[in-house]
């Protein structure tokens, strides 16, 4: 011990002190020297004698002890495990091993898990359930916190009791609902129709259908809250289809009271064919203006695996006009697919209907998908760039033009 201290002093004197003094950190010196002395002690202990030798296998005794009686019990149980129970146990072990596996899993989910065709599909499904569970837990925690805060606030409010008076009874939510319903009812009589084509069930997985319905519910909500709603039609919606079941799951008893038209008929049976326009990202035609006399059709499809041309094929078969949003004309596209979610489509269409302003409407395209708006038409941009380059470089205009085309063609040029 003593020699260690001597050594320590030496070290402190020779190296640390000048450094510390230089930077004025005398406070920091103390803990540093303490750890130093410790490690020095340790080395000495080890070399001097095995008085304090570690029992390296002590943990094995701990793990093996006190469990013998429990084991005999489990072994007998072990034999008559059903496949479901066995799967449940494996999941539990995976969870212990630190994989992304949900803590609780329902019988139904377990069956879906077992039916997954491959190992990676199983893994993906488990991860999905795990994340879902995490989100749920987080939400619940936040809700609890909020409730607590609210209760506290109420307590304080009741202490400082003070009644406020105003001319309006506080029934905001209810009143708003009535107003929205009134508007939607009007739209059902006078509004411009907007069709959701529900005929893509066989092109989608169960999860994609669930996502689709979720997006439609969101779209319906934002339509109801808009100033001048569409008259929403759900066409080709068969009873007892997956779509239908998912709708009931979302709306419950409100499904019957929804101010939309749901029908198993095709839109071609309801509306004149020449008025219909099928909106699809694959369309070769680009929409120029929003036509208030047309009836736009949106395919209710979430396409996670890339199946190009499915909705275009549908429109071709029925001989309908098609159109795509002019995304490339107005946005400098960055990355991502050009097909947008259904609620984004609804937002865009509503904005177009109300204002006819493409820039405002295309604000609803996710920001990650584009770098910015094209402020001028592309050919004008190109012209000015050309002009600048010609002035700068004189005769080599042709070369510059080519260079430009090479660099910017992907970003700017339209087909």
């Amino acid at each position: 011990m003593q020699s260690a201290n001597v050594l320590l002093k030496k070290i402190v004197r020779s190296s640390v002190l000048p450094f510390a003094a230089q930077h004025g950190m005398k406070k920091d010196l103390f803990p540093l020297s303490r750890t130093l002395s410790l490690s020095l002690c340790l080395k000495q202990d080890n070399s001097s004698g095995p008085s304090e030798k570690l029992d390296l296998d002590a943990w094995k005794k701990v793990m093996k002890s006190g469990l013998q009686d429990e084991v005999s019990e489990t072994v007998s149980e072990h034999k008559e495990l059903s496949t479901l129970a066995a799967a449940r146990e494996i999941l539990e072990m995976w969870r212990l091993a630190g994989r992304s596996v949900p803590e609780n899993i329902s019988e139904e989910q377990l069956k879906t898990f077992m039916e997954c065709p491959s190992k990676s599909a199983k893994k993906k499904y488990l991860k999905y359930l795990h994340l879902k569970e995490l989100y749920k837990k987080n939400d619940k925690r936040k809700m609890d916190e909020k409730r607590e805060r609210k209760q506290e606030a109420q307590k304080q409010a009741s202490e400082t009791d003070e009644t406020k008076r105003s001319s309006l009874v506080c029934l905001w939510a209810n009143a708003m609902d009535k107003a929205y319903s009134w508007r939607a009812a009007q739209a059902m009589i006078f509004g411009q129709p907007l069709v959701f084509d529900m005929s893509y069930e066989k092109d989608m997985s169960v999860r994609e259908v669930a996502n689709t319905v979720r997006q439609i519910v969101l779209s319906e909500g934002c339509n109801r809250r808009s100033v001048d709603p569409f008259h929403v039609h759900f066409c080709n919606l068969k009873d007892d289809s997956l779509y239908h079941k998912e709708f009931i799951k979302h709306y419950r008893e409100a499904w019957g009271k929804l101010l939309i038209t749901a029908t198993d008929q095709c839109y071609t049976d309801i509306f004149p064919k020449d008025k219909l326009v099928y909106l699809t990202a694959d369309s070769p035609k680009v929409m120029k203006t929003f036509d208030h006399n047309k009836i736009y059709i949106v395919g209710s499809m979430v396409d996670k695996s890339i199946k190009t041309g499915v909705s275009l094929a549908r429109a071709k078969r029925l001989g309908l006009e098609t159109a795509a949003l002019p995304l490339e004309k107005y946005l400098l596209w960055n990355s991502g697919a050009k097909n947008l979610t259904l609620d984004q489509m609804m937002h865009i269409l509503l904005t177009l209907k109300d204002t006819g302003d493409w820039k405002k409407a295309l604000e609803f395209v996710p920001k990650r998908k584009y770098c910015g708006f094209v402020s001028k038409p592309v050919h004008e941009l190109k012209k000015t760039l050309n002009l600048i380059n010609t002035l700068k470089l004189g005769k080599r205009q042709e070369e510059v033009r080519r260079q430009f085309a090479k660099n910017y063609s992907k970003k700017l040029m339209q087909k």
Partner: protein, 466 residues
């Protein structure tokens, strides 16, 4: 975190833990870095002891990580101990633990224990291919070839794909053995390579060669060689198998392409029924063609020239040989524009048949159809690898046929300064493992890394019996 070099006492671990920024995951992070740095297991043991004393229990994931460390260092007795402990502690084990246990035991002299564990895994799930790999390698290493092959066949019956390492192990460890049954099995492995179009890498090829040469009384000799373009082996003068598809294969492929690629789930996705019918009658009336040209693809060969000029050059170049040409295009090519001059189009139409599809249709499907309908001699010109169409084919067998068919009739045009088309010599022989009984020809890859899937190896191992 740097793991310590020597086992630490409990209070030292405590101190380290407290100095760590998030103490609740300290043990996990520490074990991870121990595995990474391959620390001595005594250090890991001391940490486990510390955890056990503190908590009275050790979490499963820590045990797993310790096990991984033991496996990494080949500590067989520890692995066995771990197995006992885990069995006592938990009702069943999961795949990760079994993977480690089987791997660890199979690499030791207790490899039979690994086999019993494999049986245990089978009760709860399908073992992974690495499980089988460890067991097969262990069995072959101990010259139990029958057992190894039994496991191999079991693995194949479960649709698991063996790694090249497993296949190589068979050849490595049956060197010099005289056993007719075993020989048949190894020939079976070579045929497996043939059927699945797998090419061995250089070291694997060497194992095969050595095995052949070590066969007692077989008098096999192996030589490395390059096959001539004519398909003749320079060593034994043997002519390799023809790459042509058989009549049956060809018809099969044609039907599949019409069914899966052109019609698919919905004919309207790539064309429309009316258009396809019109195209069919068009083709039937003018059969057979010698060369089918993907007009749009060819017209983009030189980006600085007018598109119709590119196409014009191509048509001219190919028309010289008095071949019947079909050019597939789209309707927009007919509209006079800066890229498509009407006069040039007119002139081309005198030299070749043209079919213009709708602007939104896919012309590749038509390309395939016209080529296949014309017969085996017909070639097509495109730079496209047609991967998306290959992906539409429903089963792997047809996909193989398509691949076999494609490189032969695929005239690859290279971008050259003036001469537009240079035909790449297509192989006239089939590039797969092949045998005549007393000779074997095995193509191999130079390096272990996968080459492009469309490239076939040029180097061969020729083995002949003297």
């Amino acid at each position: 975190v740097q793991p310590p070099e020597k086992p630490l006492q409990a209070e030292e671990w405590n101190r380290l833990r407290e100095s760590f920024q998030s103490p609740e995951i300290f043990e996990e992070v520490m074990f991870n870095s121990m595995v990474r740095c391959n620390s001595p297991i005594d250090v890991a043991k001391s940490l486990l002891t510390h955890v056990a004393k503190n908590n009275g229990d050790i979490a499963y994931n820590l045990l797993l990580k310790y096990l991984a460390l033991c496996v990494q260092q080949g500590q067989t007795s520890e692995i066995r101990d771990m197995y006992d402990i885990m069995k006592i502690r938990f009702r069943i084990l999961e795949s990760g633990a079994y993977n480690l246990l089987i791997k660890g035991l199979c690499n030791s002299d207790q490899w039979r224990m690994g086999l019993t564990l494999l049986e245990e895994v089978k009760k709860i799930m399908i073992p992974s291919r690495t499980n089988y790999e460890s067991c097969i390698k262990a069995a072959s290493r101990h010259q139990e070839m029958n057992l190894a092959f039994e496991l191999y066949h079991e693995m194949l019956s479960k649709d698991l794909v063996p790694t090249l390492d497993v296949l190589q192990a068979f050849f490595d460890f049956s060197r010099g053995m005289k056993d007719a049954e075993l020989q048949k099995e190894l020939f079976g492995v070579l045929l497996y390579l043939r059927e699945n179009q797998i090419y061995p890498h250089k070291t694997f090829m060497r194992s095969i060669k050595l095995w052949f040469e070590s066969m007692p009384g077989g008098n096999w000799r192996g030589h490395l060689t390059n096959i001539k373009d004519s398909g003749q082996c320079p060593v034994c003068n043997h002519q390799l198998e023809d790459s042509d598809l058989t009549e049956e294969e060809y018809n099969n492929l044609r039907e599949r392409i019409i069914r899966d690629v052109i019609h698919g789930t919905d004919t309207f996705r790539k064309t429309s029924p009316q258009e396809f019918e019109a195209f069919q009658t068009f083709v039937e009336n003018r059969l057979p063609f010698d060369i089918v040209i993907d007009g749009l693809n060819v017209s983009h060969i030189k980006p600085r020239r007018m598109q119709c000029e590119n196409l014009f050059d191509a048509v001219n170049c190919l028309a010289k040989e008095n071949a019947r040409l079909l050019v597939l295009g789209r309707k927009h090519m007919l509209i006079n524009s800066s890229n498509w001059k009407r006069e040039v189009m007119k002139e081309m139409q005198n030299k070749a048949d043209f079919f213009f599809a709708e602007n939104i249709s896919e012309d590749d499907a038509f390309l395939l159809y016209a080529t296949l309908r014309s017969g085996k001699h017909c070639k097509f010109v495109t730079r496209d690898f047609l991967r998306d169409h290959k992906a539409c084919l429903s089963d792997s067998l047809t996909r193989h046929l398509f691949r076999k068919w494609q490189p032969i009739y695929h005239v690859n045009s290279k971008k050259m300064f003036l001469s537009l088309f240079i035909q790449q010599p297509a192989f006239s022989y089939d590039c797969v493992v092949q045998t005549t009984g007393d000779t074997w020809h095995i193509p191999y890859k130079d390096s272990f890394e996968e080459k492009y899937s469309y490239e076939v190896p040029r180097k061969w191992l020729c083995i002949q019996q003297q």
